[in-house]
Amino acid sequence: MRHLFKGGRRKVAGVMAIALVASLSQVAPSNAAEKKSGGTLTVGIFDSFPGYCMADNLANSSLMAGRTVYETWVEQRSDGKMVPYVLSKVENSADFKSWKLTVRDGIQFHDGTKVNGDALVTNLQALRGALTLLGKAPSPGTAGGFTANIITVTKVSDMSVQVDLHRAQTDYLETLYASGRFFVRAPSQILGGAKCSTTPIGTGPFKLVSTKLNELVVAKNPNYWREDADGTRLPYLDGITFTFLVETASRVSGIKSKSLDVAMFTSAGEVKQIRNLQKNKNMTVIESPEEYYPSIWLNNRIAPFNSKNARVAVSHAIDRVDYSKVRNRDYTSPAKSIVGPANIMYNEKGFLQFDLEKAKAAAAAYKVEAGKDLEFSFPYTAGSTESLANVTQIQKYMTAAGIKMNLLPLTTAEIIQRAFPQQFQAMALLLMEGTGTAFIAPFITSDLSGGNQAHLLRKTPLAILYGILNLSAFTDTVSDELIYAAKAEPNLAKRTALYAKATQQIQSEARLTTIAYQKYALAYRTNVKGVGELGLTAGGKRKLMTNFGIDFTGVYKSGK
């Protein structure tokens, strides 16, 4: 989290299974003419590799790297729909409370073991903390909260598993996907004790060679299960080195000097560099959709933001248009809701827009209420000039509204350590993303078990995971119930309406606010080919570019 609005999504969560159906399909056709030589790539990324176990969350660009070793049970198509991937079939009950997942036959992990129903059960049980309670696997981390809607996971046949949910969920597959984070891990890794974090064993097109906090080296998996349209075994590349380069300048100079073949960037503080690279003839720059919604989290549990006046004052004080211009150079749009227009929850109603008079009035009301001036501390990454510039810009708006904002320079490690115990008064972090709500709802609901008093973590210390993802630490039964209802609603129009109401409720209470949306970009030199060409097994394609970059399975290097 070097950049304030970039880091994010480090603590995300688990999986559980039921069943669904999907048909096995052929590999999508691709360009067959050119010789797809191998070779190796060096990729510059802006996130590090804290580890590969359930609790270690790979963020954005390092998730891209992790996904060369790992695959997910399901995949998301470019239209947002979830399709089976390592699974072959997914079936659900009519009430969306029971899902049957069937594993694709003939896939094996890098350690040679078969992917089957047992492996799926182990994965799901590890993510929801069941194996941790038994002392068999390390902590699930925030995944335990993410998957808390699951009641039971049952193996029904060699290759099939049934997942039962506490509350009906039409988008369970999105939870199973967790925005690309819930990997298919080998049971040997999950049950391998401390090595779980350092030895990733997956099913992906590449195998681990070595990993460090700042580097992941992978090599071709000769037994990979997929082929291209010509019947050539995938992947094409012999190996990839992912290097963590915290400084933007390092990635820019790296790709320009050919030290890097590929480099990833974020719109948070790197707009100028992205635009400059777009003009460069030697490289191609692709961008993600504007589907990332960085938030200003206001801690509703502690002073001063346990007061609505304080939250309202801050929300009104931020000049989002000015911020987008000065900090993002209008590369991304100023926010009009806590999520973006692409998301099903998008609703401008109740969103407290920039209004200096109202901000001053709310701050004055706070003073009457609390007996002192509105003052709060805001952390930023010490040493990151972009981070400092971001908070300084916000501080400027606060000062204009008569609010005192203290800047807390902290190391990245400190910010991460303190963020999820919800110790900060306020902070900026990108957690919410996408078109659906599986990766949004956990951050804005108060109890991820859905009020299930019988949930397996309920009486354990891990019960804190139910609310840990809600960085604003608020309990709002109105919005909670609206979100539960929406998730159970099969009718799209009705679902959208319910979500809109929930959004309005949260926005009018000013639980959190958003300044501007965010995108990601990836630059690759012209000798890198095949980006986005390979299709999915279930037909269609993945999104070309996301926060976790591109898929390297079908990427190759041209002649020289």
Partner: protein, 286 residues
């Protein structure tokens, strides 16, 4: 004597630059220049010689000229205070150690060696990291306290550097006849140290102190580049760190602070050299 070439044009230039930047440092806040923290949203990436922004504006909207002026204040303040305090403590230890010798001397000498065994930057980084740890995470630490943490760390680095020189110099002086004579006359140690040794060691220390100022300025800049220098990236080093990402687009955001920093270090180094040269000649004439 007309042929005494101690003060050459570079010496005047060095002295002039230091005086000028000290002037900026002291009177900077009184000058009609906007605060360096002001974000000029309408002038992003302005090139040098833009009206109102002589040195241009960086990509964050900070005016470089006011940054340089403010940086002069912080960089020089930190450097001179650090060298002053570090030099005082170091020479106190070094001179007394050289004078009294014995076990006290070997303890002081070992302590110096211990600190010197750790590379400057590593030591400063570690001290800043430990001293800056806070119990209440939301407590806003005032800038002066963070500045103090940094200065304490750099002082620890400087103490043995100057202390060793003070000790070595004091060692040669305390062996001279006039000290032995003073001792044999039954003078008090404090009197001998103060009247006979300090005046002779001081010039050397001042000369080396000028060099140490350069060392501290560069060390602070390195710390800034690593994110733990003068708070909020307000020093010249902090400006360089900020300019790093702008290197290709706004080279001026990088070049101005580098030039300011280099000129200052060149000046202090040069003055240190000149002083040392004069001392050597004085020694030679004795």
């Amino acid at each position: 004597m007309s042929t005494n070439k101690t003060y050459t044009v570079p010496t005047y230039a060095a002295f002039g630059w230091l005086t000028f930047s000290t002037f900026l440092a002291v009177f900077g806040p009184l000058l009609p220049v906007e605060s360096f923290r002001t974000i000029h949203g309408d002038f992003l990436d302005a090139k040098p010689f833009t009206a109102g922004h002589w040195f241009g504006v960086d990509s964050n909207g900070y005016d470089i000229f006011s940054g340089i002026i403010n940086g002069a204040r912080l960089s020089l303040f930190v450097a001179f205070i650090t060298v002053g305090i570090g030099g005082f403590i170091g020479s106190l230890l070094g001179i007394t150690a050289a004078y009294y010798r014995g076990r006290y001397d070997s303890i002081v000498n070992t302590a110096f060696n211990v600190v010197l065994a750790v590379p400057n930057l590593v030591l400063a980084l570690a001290l800043v990291a430990v001293l800056a740890t806070n119990v209440d995470i939301n407590e806003a630490v005032p800038t002066w306290r963070r500045l103090a943490t940094l200065m304490i760390s750099l002082t620890v680095v400087i103490i043995p550097i100057l202390g060793r020189i003070a000790r070595a110099s004091a060692l040669t002086w305390s062996g001279r006849e006039f000290v032995v004579a003073a001792r044999s006359m039954g003078m008090r140690d404090r009197h001998i140290i103060w009247r006979h040794i300090v005046p002779n060691v001081l010039p050397v220390l001042i000369a080396v102190g000028f060099l140490a100022v350069g060392v501290v300025i560069i060390a602070e800049a390195s710390l800034s580049l690593l994110g733990v220098g003068i708070p909020d990236g307000a020093s010249w080093g902090g400006m360089i760190a900020r300019g790093r990402n702008d290197l290709e687009y706004n080279p001026h955001a990088l070049y101005f602070p580098i030039i300011a920093l280099a000129l200052t270090v060149i000046s202090t180094n040069h003055l240190g050299d000149v002083l040392r040269g004069r001392l050597d000649r004085r020694e030679a004439r004795l």
